[in-house]
Symmetry: C2
């Protein structure tokens, strides 16, 4: 008895990704046990061709980015990865080698991050490819890092560098010159989920999240959850060497770097007396962190000042779909 | 500090759907405990406008169908609902009242089935709307109903009626006349997840799944998992009165009813000596079940015979996207 092409596609491409609990992707659902003494942490993010990735992006990095933006949500909660489900609505007529590349990227990152696919659904669409991934992780009860909890006086910290994702997109669109090493494009295509850092800082930070919609917009979430204001020193915001080079040529770029999306760094607030513990945790995780400002009393708002103390116009906010 | 339109949309439409563990949809992920002594059951299904539902379908039933096709996967495993995550890639320029209706439908079915949204993502697409839902449920360890496990000699049972989903789609497309009560269109738009039945038959059935891609194709999955053949008596396959009326006018319709999708009934195998227990379980669940055939030794294959014993041509198989 022959199977429809859909099942052949699943068997050929997706079955090799399946892990424990996935029941060989042959059942209606996956069945799994959450390890004793752990809570389930679960999130879902979608990516649409031409919106969240470029049609000419390599399929390998599209698969890896889909997994990584979701892993970044686990990182932001201080959680460890457990597995994922994925639904793919592929554009009709998509090349088989595109799907093969997409799956190769997922397989590579499954190994890197130690998780596997638990289930999902494969369909087609007459429009651009729509991908959705649901990530499962676990955290010890009470250890989860949340957006709420920052207090006036807390330091504001960020990991890695800010603005590379936006600049990478501009490089790939041909709007700014590429750096020789391809660092910016790589940062747009392959965000680095800060899983070890998230777990390391969760016990010492008061509140945190990942920067996906722009530093200013996401810091605004911390402000609203805390009912206070944030003051950011733009000169302290960590930039990569290629970003610094582009900013040197065009100083007006600064507000865009602070509001552009696709950074996937961790942004968190911690008491000033925890600064040593924050630095020690970051060092253990092998990820640089930088103090960029402070939570202060006041209405929820983010003020970013240049080196002269003048507020920058960051009112454009972050990315929105509507 | 004003929020982008995307957040306003989430706050206005989706926040009222949020339940315990969803952290008011304000965090990067939901955090929840799986009740002690239960295993997590998780599945994901996508729906694309124009593929899985008609552009002119009421948004209320689109939301309810998205939830129900996923609940049907829980039913097929004998699991009870816990919650769900959803990613929505709405067609650009979608009317706000469409989203409001979609959410109204979800809210109604959340009450009906006793679950709530835990998280997700809202994006836009230049193509048709793509919806993806991940359903979470729980089951007692060892109580899960799987596709594998049927044996030669087992009875094959199906719940409810078969073929209404396909005929409902044809009615809505104007290909066949509508029944006066609108039963067929309603069955296409609003499948009935057989949750109580799934939990009731799980202890007495050997294997089972839900019929989403057509009775013959899905029974083929049971055959392959069991390494045996299924013989179905087409005359025994339960049909609704409107389906029976259409079949009376066009007897050639029978193979289409056996291979059409969107039934969302439960299909399961049980030992002949369990027939009484199956009927008792179905009666407790308040859902009719019908014995339609038998698993027999042989290569994995489904043979459906008409009343004269002649095999029907059901080689067209079920729905496939590729």
């Amino acid at each position: 008895m022959s199977l429809p092409a859909e099942f052949a596609l699943i068997a050929r491409h997706f079955l090799p990704l399946a892990g424990e609990g996935a029941l060989d992707l042959a059942d209606d659902a996956a069945v799994l046990d959450i390890p004793a003494g752990r809570r389930l942490v679960i999130a879902a993010d979608a990516m649409v061709e031409g919106v969240h990735y470029l049609p000419e992006d390599p399929p390998e990095t599209v698969g890896r980015k889909l997994l990584r933006v979701n892993l970044s949500d686990l990182a932001a909660m201080g959680a460890a990865p457990l597995g994922y489900l994925m639904t793919t609505s592929f554009a009709r007529g998509i090349a088989d080698h595109w799907i093969a590349g997409f799956v190769r990227g997922l397989a590579e990152d499954q190994r890197t991050f130690g998780l596997s696919v638990l289930g999902g659904d494969t369909t087609s669409t007459p429009g651009p490819t729509c991908l959705s991934l649901t990530i499962l992780g676990t955290v010890a009860p009470g250890a989860e890092l949340k957006r709420a909890g920052a207090r006036p006086g807390d330091d504001v910290w960020v990991s890695g560098t800010i603005g590379d994702g936006l600049l990478g997109l501009r490089v790939l669109r041909g709007e700014v010159p590429a750096d020789a090493e391809g660092h910016l494009a790589r940062r747009y295509r392959l965000p680095e989920p800060r899983l070890a850092l998230g777990q390391a800082i969760a016990p010492v930070a008061r509140a945190g999240l990942d920067v996906s919609d722009g530093l200013v917009q996401d810091l605004g979430h911390l402000c609203r959850a805390a009912g206070c204001r944030a003051e950011v020193s733009a000169a302290e915001v960590p930039l990569s060497a290629p970003a610094r080079a582009l900013l040197g040529r065009d100083p007006a770029l600064l507000p865009a770097l602070l509001t552009g999306g696709d950074d996937y760094e961790l942004l968190f607030a911690a008491a000033p007396e925890a600064a040593g513990a924050v630095r020690a945790a970051a060092s253990r995780a092998g990820v640089p962190v930088t103090r960029i400002g402070q939570m202060v009393p006041g209405a929820p708002e983010v003020v970013a000042r240049d080196a002269a103390g003048t507020p920058l116009d960051v009112s454009r906010g972050g990315w929105s779909h509507f």
